[in-house]
Structure formats: structure tokens, C-alpha cells
């Protein structure tokens, strides 16, 4: 069985701010790291490998530096890695990111199962998984919180919905996105770091893909365009309650009484 895990390198902090004077983005301390939600996808794949001896491949798209997260996946126990990196892939929105990943998956596959994290911490859209499944023409399921039986043909999973839990059997090939906390992710191992230091990674550029028309990728192919970015508006009207804690509490209690919250 072949399992593909999609991972992404994201900024180390989610607190990117706009400098209001210059209008530029502040980039203090934005060392890149593996998207934390992807660790759960990796751990899910590693657990399945223990049960089925599946071969695990990670796929990522990004600038050359993203090799680091592929190496980290090796240190956790993943067998091989594929990186999609090309100037033509830059500026991709959800549609183009998922399309590029689908072309990479076709090139590196076929895969029985694709596992994605719930969302990334930078884009925060939680939509690439479902779009990737559509491009590949395979069923998908999101919010997987537990894994049941697995055999050569299908996997049984439990999906977490707001008011119910659904256990479903999905035939391969299929894609699933897993919830944070499905399993506790293992730490990268130093022993594996040494063992995999020289492991080759497959690098795919535009020319390596079946569809190598640059118009179909990145910014060129993205239907959505960011018109502008700006800092969020802050609230203007506000009062501050001063004094000792007892005075502050008394003022608030009075205000809540006036607004009829104490009835």
C-alpha cells in the first residue's frame, strides 16, 4: 500500500503584523517550521505503516528551503519525499495549490491513500484537501478523528461532526484530512536523522509535470487575486473602569444591572 502525506512549511509565528507607518509587513522572528496540523497527518500515516507496512511518501510545494520539513518527516519515519519547487508555482491560491499538488501526486504516485492536516496555520483555509481530491477524482472525507479497520481495499474512519459522530468505510484511492489530536505526534529521532541524512529527495519542477504549461500554475492560473492587505479596524467607542478591584467590580456590576443582565 502507498500512502501520500501532504505537508507544508509555514512561518514560525502566526502573528504577522502590518507596520502602520510604512505599510510593510513586520517579519520579526518568522523562522519557518512544519505546519503543526501536518504532524497529525504524519503520525496517522506512521501508525498505519505499523499496521500494514505501507510505504509513506511526503509531498510538499514551496521554495527550496522547504526541504527542511521533508527531512523532518524522514526523521519521524517517512520513507520518501517529493518537493514541487518552481518559480512558476509562486503566488498560487487554493485552486492552484491543489492543482500543483495533484500533478505532483500523479507524477509520484499512484497512491491508495492521501492524508492531509486539517488546515495550515498561515493560509488557514482548510480547503486544499477537498480541492486536491476533486482534481484527482477520488472521494474525500474531512475531520477524521479516529481510524478503524484498514485492508487492501478500504479504510474505516470516524468523522467528528458538531452534533454527531459518523463511522464510514471509504474505498481506496481516497483522501482524508485528520483532526488535531487524532494521535500524539512522535518526535523526530536523532538516529533516523543520521540514517536519512543522505536520502535522496525527488525534486519536481514545472518541466517534470505532465501539464507543463506555466499558465496553469501559480499566480498565472489563480482565479483569486489579493487586491490589497490592511490592518483590521479597531473599535473606537470604549470606556475604561478605573480604581481598585473592588471599585472596578462595583462599577461593572452597576453597568450590568442597568443593562438588565441581573434579572
Amino acid at each position: 500500500m502507498n500512502i501520500l502525506i501532504c505537508i507544508k512549511q509555514v512561518p514560525g509565528t502566526s502573528q504577522v503584523e502590518i507596520d502602520e507607518k510604512t505599510g510593510t509587513l513586520k517579519r520579526d522572528g518568522v523562522a519557518a517550521k512544519m505546519n503543526p496540523f501536518d504532524l497529525y497527518a504524519l503520525e496517522t500515516a506512521l501508525r498505519l505503516k505499523e499496521r500494514t507496512s505501507a510505504a509513506l511518501t511526503v509531498l510538499t510545494m514551496g521554495p527550496p528551503q522547504c526541504e527542511k520539513v521533508v527531512r523532518e518527516a524522514f526523521m519521524m519515519g517517512v520513507d520518501s519525499g517529493v518537493i514541487l519547487s518552481d518559480r512558476a508555482f509562486g503566488g498560487a491560491d487554493v485552486l492552484m495549490t491543489s492543482y500543483t499538488l495533484s500533478e505532483g501526486a500523479r507524477r509520484a504516485g499512484p497512491f491508495d491513500l492521501i492524508i492531509c492536516g486539517k488546515q495550515t496555520t498561515d493560509g488557514d483555509t482548510a480547503q486544499v484537501g477537498a480541492e486536491l481530491a476533486e482534481w484527482l477524482g477520488i472521494p474525500h472525507v474531512v475531520n477524521v478523528k479516529a481510524i478503524g479497520e484498514i485492508d487492501e481495499r478500504a479504510i474505516t474512519v470516524t468523522v467528528d461532526l458538531p452534533d454527531s459522530e459518523v463511522t464510514e468505510r471509504i474505498p481506496f484511492p481516497c483522501l482524508m484530512t485528520v483532526e488535531k489530536g487524532i494521535f500524539e505526534p512522535r518526535l523526530p529521532s536523532y538516529r533516523r536523522k543520521l540514517a536519512t541524512a543522505d536520502r535522496e529527495i525527488t525534486w519536481l519542477a514545472l518541466a517534470d509535470l505532465n501539464d507543463s504549461d506555466p499558465k496553469h500554475y501559480g499566480l498565472n492560473g489563480s482565479p483569486t487575486q489579493v487586491k490589497r492587505i490592511f490592518p483590521p479596524e479597531s473599535h473606537i467607542e470604549r470606556i475604561t473602569l478605573e480604581g481598585s478591584p473592588a471599585e472596578q467590580a462595583a462599577a461593572l456590576a452597576k453597568l450590568l444591572e442597568e443593562r438588565k443582565f441581573l434579572q
Binding site: 512561518p11 502566526s14 502573528q15 503584523e17 505599510g23 510593510t24 509587513l25 513586520k26 519557518a32 521554495p63 527550496p64 518559480r87 508555482f89 509562486g90 503566488g91 487554493v94 485552486l95 491543489s98 496555520t121 493560509g123 488557514d124 483555509t125 482548510a126 480547503q127 477537498a130 480541492e131 481530491a133 472521494p139 461532526l161 458538531p162 459522530e165 459518523v166 481516497c174 501559480g218 499566480l219 498565472n220 489563480s222 482565479p223 483569486t224 487575486q225 489579493v226 490589497r228 492587505i229 490592511f230 490592518p231 483590521p232 473599535h235 467607542e237 470604549r238 470606556i239 478591584p245 472596578q248 467590580a249 461593572l252 456590576a253 453597568l255 450590568l256 443593562r259 443582565f261 441581573l262
Partner: protein, 394 residues
């Protein structure tokens, strides 16, 4: 479509150009400035690069926008046929947007026993309600639901499609947006309409304190998802629209996914339904101290909700989490206790009618959205507050 052209002859200080990009996507290779795959098209380099970076707008024509008319709302019903209220919120917004460009408002209901929901959508001002009603559609399954939405779009050619950001909506919308090779903007917090029918979509971006204004200028339909309780429910109207029934061929109603078991969770009142919320933030030092907030919440007839950090610490269930990755709430009163006010949290509660913030840090960003601010220690203020409320209530 657009791309960034680099005028190498204007490059004088490569280091300062490389430093411009917040995503590290500008690099120097063999003395040439290049943009790598890290580019997010934030256009910072175009504005600040002194002419080195130039935006080249591709003149390639997009779709004929005049052939795509109407604002469509995908309305979700549960297995008992009851309508998710986010559909009414979206319908209100859709009417407002449609009025600006003189387009009709349509709603789509997929399920089994759709009649009551369809009539409700008419009462809230839909011009047309399109229904796909079949026992096979009683439960959400991705393939038949995607097929129904695809069929609806092919029949009605809506300019914009608004989908509630529920779990099912967030699975369905991307699947069908990809099928139509079009754009999808997730979790919009502001929507407006341009005269040329481009939907102006604004959402928090890059996971930080930044809002992004996003357009889909050359593709139709334009997909946007919006979380529950972002927009208000509009007033009821005299129904004037009509219900139009559609059917799907049997093979388009099937799914490869086999449901083995469905378990209902206990029907606990969600934090979205509460009129009063007391929010536990990182200023609460240990999990036992939440009982103090529970006491305050009970006195006010409300419940305790939380920030992401508190849920991640395992102190409270994820169902209590407010914010972009949790629930969006709009209570009449919200008291945040030791909450710093990250944008992801604020996005989930800024619609609350009265926001009270208690935090020791006078610079905490929560005070920017709070109507009533108390700079103070929750361990001192809240016991006093509980005592004073008890006294006032007699």
C-alpha cells in the same frame, strides 16, 4: 491574471530588496534578483521596491460576466429537515449584494424533506428556491451533494455562490469550486459587491493581524464561505418567490463512501446559543480556577467559553472554543477574563453586543474591541464582582 516582472537594470541594493518580502520569496541568484515559489502575491515588493518589481496584468479575457447572474445561497438542512440559521444570515447579505447590481437571489436546498426549509427561505426573501429532494440525500455525502450543487450551477449560472462555513459547507464548497476551476475565498468576514459584479471578499489572512481584500476577477461563479453568526439574520418578508424542484439521475446520487454507524452526541446547548458568555483565557492560572468563572457565568445565566490556548491545554472541550478555528459567537454580553485578544479569537466574537475585557496588560489587543475595559487582575476583580452581583440580585 497578473505576474511580477523584475527590472534587473534598476537593481541597486539587492539586500534591501530581499528584505522587502515578508515571505522570503525574493532571492539573488548569480547576481540576478528572482522570485521563488514562496511568493504569496502580497504585492509588497511592487509598492516598496522602487520600480524594480512591476505588476504585469495579463490582458487575457475572462468569462463573459453578463452570462452569470444571481447571488446563490447554499442552504444546509439536517437529516430532520431543519435549516441551519447561517443560511438566513447569508440570504440577508445576498439580498443586500444583489440589490446593488440588480441580480436575483436564489437559494439551494439539498436533502430529504426540504419543503419547510424552502418555505422559510422564501419568507426571508429568496426570489427562487431550488431543491434537490431525495431520500438518498438525507445525510450529507460528498459525491451526491457535489453533483447537486454542480447541476444547480450549470442550470442557473449564478455570479456568486455563498456557502455557510459549517463542516459540511467547508467540505462541499472547495470540492465544487475546483470542479468549476474557479476561486473560493474561505471564512469571509466582510462581503461587498462591485458594479462589475465582482464580489469583494475580505477575510483575516496569513493567520495574523492582517485583513486581505480578495477578488475573483476573471472566473465565475465566485465562491465564498462565511462562518455562522458573522452576519445578522434579516427581517422576515412577504414571500414573493417560488420553489423549483430538480432531480438527479440515480447514478449521480450514489456515493463510494459507506456509512457504518451514526451516533448522536448529547444535545448540550452550544456556546453559539448562549446570550451571556464568560471567556477563560491564558490569564487563568490553573484549570481549577475555571470554577470561579463558572460561578460568574451561572449568576449571569450564561456559560464559560474559552480561547484556543485553554482548549489546547486540555482544560475545556473544543466545543467551547471561540475564534476562527472554533465557534463564532454573538452573545448579548461577553466577559473575557485574562484574554489577550488575538485576531483569530476576536474574529469569532467581535459581533457581540457588549464586550467586557478584564486583563492585567493595558496594551492587550482585546481592549481595542472591548466596550468596557478593566485593567486589573481577574483573581481580584472577579470575586468582588461575584459578591456585588449577588448583593444586587438580592
Amino acid at each position: 491574471m497578473a505576474s511580477i516582472k523584475i527590472n534587473q537594470s534598476k537593481v541597486t541594493d539587492p539586500e534591501s530588496l530581499i528584505a522587502l518580502c515578508p515571505f522570503g520569496a525574493i532571492e539573488s541568484k548569480n547576481g540576478k534578483i528572482e522570485i521563488n515559489a514562496g511568493c504569496r502575491m502580497c504585492r509588497m515588493c511592487i509598492r516598496k521596491g522602487g520600480g524594480v518589481f512591476e505588476l504585469v496584468e495579463d490582458a487575457a479575457p475572462g468569462v463573459d460576466k453578463s452570462k452569470w447572474r444571481g447571488i446563490a445561497v447554499v442552504a444546509e438542512i439536517d437529516e430532520d429537515g431543519s435549516l441551519h440559521p447561517v443560511a438566513l444570515e447569508l440570504l440577508g447579505k445576498a439580498r443586500e449584494l444583489a440589490a446593488k447590481i440588480n441580480h436575483p437571489v436564489t437559494a439551494l436546498v439539498i436533502g430529504s424533506g426540504t419543503q419547510p426549509a424552502a418555505e422559510r427561505l422564501l419568507a426571508y426573501g429568496a426570489d427562487e428556491v431550488h431543491v434537490y429532494d431525495d431520500p438518498a440525500l438525507r445525510h450529507f455525502r460528498i459525491e451526491p451533494y457535489a453533483n447537486a450543487l454542480e447541476d444547480f450551477i450549470n442550470l442557473t449560472h449564478p455570479s456568486s455562490v455563498l456557502v455557510g462555513g459549517t463542516m459540511n459547507g467547508r467540505s462541499l464548497a472547495p470540492r465544487v469550486a475546483a470542479r468549476f476551476r474557479t476561486g473560493l475565498t474561505a471564512d469571509c468576514t466582510v462581503l461587498d459587491m462591485s458594479a462589475n459584479t465582482d464580489l469583494d471578499q475580505i477575510r483575516p489572512a496569513y493567520g495574523g493581524n492582517i485583513m486581505a481584500h480578495i477578488n475573483t476577477p476573471r472566473h465565475r461563479p465566485q465562491f465564498a464561505t462565511v462562518r455562522y453568526k458573522i452576519f445578522p439574520i434579516p427581517p422576515k418578508d412577504e414571500p414573493h418567490g417560488r420553489i423549483i424542484a430538480h432531480t438527479l439521475a440515480p447514478e449521480r446520487l450514489t456515493s463510494l463512501i459507506e456509512v457504518i454507524e451514526r451516533r448522536r452526541k448529547s444535545a448540550e446547548k452550544g456556546i453559539e446559543e448562549c446570550e451571556v458568555l464568560v471567556v477563560c483565557g491564558r490569564g487563568v492560572k490553573k484549570s481549577e480556577d475555571i470554577s470561579l468563572l463558572e460561578e460568574l457565568a451561572t449568576l449571569l445565566g450564561g456559560r464559560v467559553a474559552s480561547t484556543r490556548a485553554v482548549v489546547e491545554a486540555g482544560w475545556l472541550d473544543a466545543k467551547r472554543q471561540i475564534g476562527l478555528s472554533g465557534r463564532t459567537v454573538k452573545p448579548k454580553l461577553i466577559i473575557t477574563c485574562g484574554v489577550s485578544g488575538a485576531i483569530q479569537f476576536v474574529a469569532g466574537m467581535s459581533g457581540s453586543e457588549l464586550i467586557v475585557a478584564i486583563n492585567t496588560d493595558p496594551n492587550a489587543s482585546i481592549f481595542k474591541v472591548a466596550h468596557v475595559g478593566i485593567v486589573g487582575d481577574i483573581y481580584q476583580v472577579i470575586p468582588e464582582l461575584i459578591e456585588k452581583i449577588k448583593r444586587l440580585k438580592g
